[in-house]
Symmetry: C2
Subunit: 119 residues, 2 copies
């Protein structure tokens, strides 16, 4: 029986406590392409500062989603762990959802009489 | 050819610009159960203020993910639009991902000798 005992899902609360932090989903998505250096991530994400990127990478490593190799020479390389990689289907689902949303809202705008070019 | 021309995905940037805002994913997830009144959402989400819930609901309505009916008597009822509902498979994927992450980290902790009960 339903006694209005609704409760926000603790799992989603936890997941979005991490993924909701700005840039985190983008970092995980970029590293799904291939392992990347700090400077490559920095260039790929418009508007992120070095300090913020460093902080986010540390958080994602601590959460077990990334790991980094530090080769004897050259900069560290960040890569997804299995746990990080296993988020990818969910990110694809969100990407597809947003793409459809944009498409539908473009179509809705195009269907408005006011938006038709004058003849 | 790969010229390091990596770029953060604009679709994910857009999606997490909205979903990354605190509470939004939880609100959409709760309304997937059934339409709810403001006070029911307020009770179901620990720590949210009335002001913040009102702001989030307005944003989600503006984004086309929620709509609300205002019956002649009684408070408004919020429900998902088709666009809001179509996010649900992605939220399920994220919920499952987080559940597995928690499970695996519990198992990893349990496997540490130090965490075994003394005999």
């Amino acid at each position: 029986v339903d006694h209005d005992a609704l409760e926000a899902c603790p799992k989603l609360t936890g997941a979005f406590g991490l993924l909701g932090k700005r840039w985190n989903a983008l970092i995980l998505d970029l590293l799904a392409v291939r392992p990347l250096r700090f400077s490559q991530l920095d260039q790929a994400i418009p508007g992120i500062s070095d300090r913020m990127l460093g902080e986010r990478l540390r958080e994602l490593v601590a959460a077990g989603l990334l790991e980094h190799d530090r080769p004897p020479q050259g900069p560290a390389i960040y890569r997804l762990t299995d746990a990080g990689r296993s988020l990818q289907p969910a990110l694809e689902a969100i990407r597809g959802w947003w793409a459809k949303l944009e498409h539908d809202s473009d179509r809705a705008r195009a269907a408005l009489p006011a938006s038709r070019p004058a003849r």
